[in-house]
């Protein structure tokens, strides 16, 4: 890291040391995924054979994926997850962009307390409120439907996105905004035409995180929905492939793999946004 002071040999040794120490971490992080993937391709005979080597697949089969597609409502769950994630993310983004701009840029009485309120709700864990929310959902007449989740997910998405976006809005220079206002643009036009285009990375980041958080959400999705046809992918796979005492291990793993695919694809594509969003969310807090 520090060139010029240390010799080349010392540098190489220190790099080797770092690689050697990273191996266990990378193995720890990735092994479960590898194991899920290969398990999903093993035949039942191989899966439940104590003599076979668990790390390898002798003869790959796709029967577990077949069961998933033809004997469960997996595709419906995936569709539900997609609809819920896209809708909840869009609603939350609109609300958060407005709130984030207001808190980051405008001066009015109470702005500090509003900011505080958003920060505190950002820290409220979903498990604190899932019981009363389950009753709120019943009284709104949307229990056991995907609307129960579309309505409740913004409760944790909006505080998170608002907090994230406030940081990005603050990086837009005030002078640019003031110029637009002086030139006769309305405040809404300034926000829409000047500030938003400059905060695009932040908005992409907020959208990615919201999508991931909703797709992965488990507590509310498990609590508010019991009808098989309305479940999300995560809950459907977790709950519907265990029937009584029978565990469909192969299909459980197949479902876990497939239901993770959309997130993995987005993640690989937008890795740098994830890294920056993760750090911005916490470090600025």
């Amino acid at each position: 890291m520090i060139t010029g002071v240390r010799s080349r040999g010392a540098q190489r040794r220190s790099a080797l040391f770092a690689y050697a120490n990273l191996v266990p971490f990378v193995f720890f992080a990735l092994f479960p995924f590898y194991f899920m993937l290969i398990t999903s391709f093993k035949s039942n005979a191989e899966l439940y054979n104590l003599k076979s080597i668990p790390f390898l697949v002798e003869s790959p089969v796709v029967e577990h994926y077949g069961l998933l597609f033809f004997r469960t409502e997996f595709l419906t769950w995936m569709k539900n997850s997609l609809v819920i994630s896209v809708t909840a993310t869009s609603i939350s983004l609109v609300i958060s962009i407005l709130a984030g701009y207001s808190l980051a840029r405008l001066r009015y009485r109470g702005v500090g307390s509003f900011g505080l309120a958003v920060f505190i709700t950002y820290l409220v864990p979903p498990t604190l409120l899932f019981l009363p929310l389950s009753q709120v959902v019943v009284s709104l007449g949307i229990s056991d439907s995907i609307w129960a989740l579309i309505v409740t997910y913004p409760t944790f998405l909006v505080p998170f996105c608002t907090w994230l976006l406030m940081g990005y809005f603050r990086t837009v220079p005030r002078e640019v905004e003031e110029c637009a206002l002086v030139d006769g643009a309305s405040r809404m036009q300034t926000l829409w035409r000047i500030v938003l285009p400059m905060a695009v990375p932040g908005i992409v980041c907020a959208a990615l995180f919201s999508f991931t958080l909703t797709w992965n959400e488990f507590t509310y999705a498990l609590t508010f929905i019991s009808q098989t046809a309305n479940k999300t992918a995560v809950v459907g796979v977790t709950a519907d492939l265990i029937r009584g005492d029978i565990y469909y291990w192969g299909s459980l793993m197949a479902g876990a793999v497939l239901a993770s695919v959309p997130i993995v694809v987005i993640y690989v594509w937008f890795l740098d946004y994830y890294v920056s969003g993760l750090t911005a969310g916490a470090v600025k807090g």
Binding site: M1, V136, L271
Partner: protein
């Protein structure tokens, strides 16, 4: 209400004067500001503050799913505190949180230090290490469940072949302390990336000159870490640890999928017990009281955070 007719007039007949006045009114900084924040505040009042009030009301009444009951004062709390399972849950929650957060902090700082080097495949390494945090936890926990299976556990298989364990090996999810170890392991696995990546961001922000100065002074790697890196990282580590404390303390997914609180309640946390009592058992009053025990921890963390931020 006095605004009502004026607004209608504006909507009905676009009178230039009224329109301009409305526009001027909206253009005021405070009006615009309140207008933009309104949807968010409405949402938080209706779906966070109101349910929180409901939780308190539930916890003070004999409320069952489908049948709202009478006010019973602190009876639910008294029942809970006298209950063996609940006391076990309190103990579990503290053990789980303390060990998991400590492991995540130490391993996270260590991993961040390794990742901060100028290595080849830097991006790939970071991407790989962050993956457990991105994949749906409930689904990856299914994988761990299979890895901890009583008969086909790959952990035991490997450890036996390597000679670390003797023949059948522990029944991970069937014995109290092993189950707790398993639940903690999965939590550390899933939470470590958050620590590592955040601390890494803090590390990268430390000016390189500090290290050069320390090196010129002849400070060893350990001394540089102890006297340069650690003091400068302390704010980041503090924030991450606080965050993680709340979310580890209130964890639901991992325990619900892996053990459902078993064996014999040895891994129940507040959230899973609240789920079991409140929804599975239908006793919303007691369930709400149990989940409200998460609140003091939340309040403490918020308090420390705010004091800390104010000092910044």
């Amino acid at each position: 209400m006095a605004v009502g007719p004026r607004v209608l007039e504006v909507a009905g007949a676009p009178h230039a004067g009224h329109l301009r006045r409305l526009r001027e009114w909206v253009e005021q900084e405070h009006v615009f500001g309140y207008g933009l924040i309104l949807p968010a505040i409405l949402l938080l009042v209706c779906l966070v503050a109101y349910p929180f009030g409901m939780a308190i009301w539930f916890s003070l009444s004999d409320y069952w799913v489908g049948s709202p009951g009478p006010f019973v004062g602190l009876a639910n709390y008294r029942d809970i505190l006298g209950n063996e399972v609940f006391r076990q849950t309190v103990w579990n929650s503290f053990v789980f949180t303390a060990i998991a957060v400590a492991l995540k902090t130490v391993l996270g700082v260590w991993l961040a230090l390794l990742l901060a080097r100028n290595l080849k495949f830097k991006r790939l390494l970071r991407g790989a290490v962050l993956l457990p945090w991105v994949i749906p936890t409930a689904l990856s926990t299914l994988g761990w469940w299979w890895m901890f299976d009583s008969l086909y556990s790959v952990v035991n298989w490997t450890a036996i072949r390597l000679g670390i364990m003797s023949a059948p090996g522990p029944n991970w999810l069937g014995q109290a302390s092993y189950a707790m170890a398993a639940v903690i392991a999965v939590n550390v696995w899933r939470g470590l990336p958050f620590f590592a990546i955040t601390v890494l961001a803090g590390l990268v922000a430390i000016p390189r000159e500090y290290y050069e100065a320390a090196e010129v002074d002849g400070a060893s790697a350990w001394l540089r870490f102890r006297h340069v890196t650690l003091p400068l990282l302390r704010p980041v580590i503090a924030v991450v640890t606080l965050f993680s404390t709340i979310f580890t303390f209130s964890d639901f997914n991992i325990v619900q999928v892996l053990t459902r609180g078993g064996p014999v309640n040895s891994t129940h946390l507040f959230a899973t017990l609240a789920y079991q009592v409140g929804l599975f058992g239908g006793n919303l009053g007691q369930g709400a009281a149990i989940s409200l025990f998460l609140f003091p921890m939340l309040a403490a963390v918020v308090f420390v955070q705010l004091r800390y931020i104010r000092r910044e």
